[in-house]
Symmetry: C2
Subunit: 217 residues, 2 copies
Amino acid sequence: MSAYEVTERTRIRRIPERGTYDRETVHKILDEAILCHVGVAIDGKPRVIPTAILRVDEFVYIHGSANSQLLKSLIGGAPASIAVSFVDSLVASRSGFNCAVDYRSVVIFSDAAEEVTDPAEKERLLDAFVQHLIPGHKVRPPKRQEIGATKIVRFPLLEVSAKIRDVGVNDFEEDYVLDLWAGRIPLRTVAGPPESCSRVKSGIDIPAYAANFERRK
Amino acid sequence: MSAYEVTERTRIRRIPERGTYDRETVHKILDEAILCHVGVAIDGKPRVIPTAILRVDEFVYIHGSANSQLLKSLIGGAPASIAVSFVDSLVASRSGFNCAVDYRSVVIFSDAAEEVTDPAEKERLLDAFVQHLIPGHKVRPPKRQEIGATKIVRFPLLEVSAKIRDVGVNDFEEDYVLDLWAGRIPLRTVAGPPESCSRVKSGIDIPAYAANFERRK
């Protein structure tokens, strides 16, 4: 149970040694994502939409307004593909051909999105979305109509693969002798100082979870 | 000519006040992107793939191996949707319902990808991809077979929209009195110190464009 089954759609064709179906690796990449890109086909034409993502166990969840066309399409049975990706480094090689990025990505396929309809489960999941975004953040309890106005859709992690490039410079052997610099420039996401809402009540300080916020890795 | 025409596919339905068709705004968001997510429909089922993106004038370009199934599908006439997105801030509100992110995104639709086949134009574009990734980076000239082994596909910017949320906390009026902290946590991408390739020739220092690298905004 430690790896996802490889299917026709998830088999990595381009540079297969970068592909992995390892469950823990897939989970870790998904858990770092705030946004995913969801693709659906409408009348045979693709539409890609960025939206928040949350993984819990072997499902990923997206949510939105009860009026969302995307969510309605998915609940109606439209197949989906969901991708998340991170650029970890810019790879400056000695040839343009070998310039690249080190990256991590996950691509999911699903023909069976499921709407979460149980209000108690929806409440737990909406709280999990908040905690995924800003761990430790405290909010007032949700109202019944807020839960009703929100649609949550989940996708079982059945057809999924990850692809990772982490080798940095990988030049052609004959290029290493060139008088050119090559290397990688690591990129990372950092949080700046929190900016309190102008209407925060006096006496309420910036909490530690916000002041010390670090993007999970 | 300062705004893109609104079409059935690009009209922003959800929270239309966040939508913009302003050409300069769209260009600026696209120019910040290293990766985009390209969606195609294969046998009516969507597939979303992360890949490098470059904008020049009123086209966006992607490239890859001459064997790439994605690029072959696109050149064969498969319609595409391309998205880029950035999370600028995590928005910690007083209700879970109003927790959000401030973001900028662009979504492109195209039914008419075009392959770039002229070798001189391909050479210029491949150099532009390198300069987009790491401005100032010097590489050896490309070889003819490298240009031949690379497919470049471009999409005219005809059906395109941007969506921006930048308002931070936007709570329900009755929630502002609550004894809860609210605010936004800005996120940004930063570059770490460059790591030279272990085989860089002695005497070649890290160049200024790498040492002082800053992600464009």
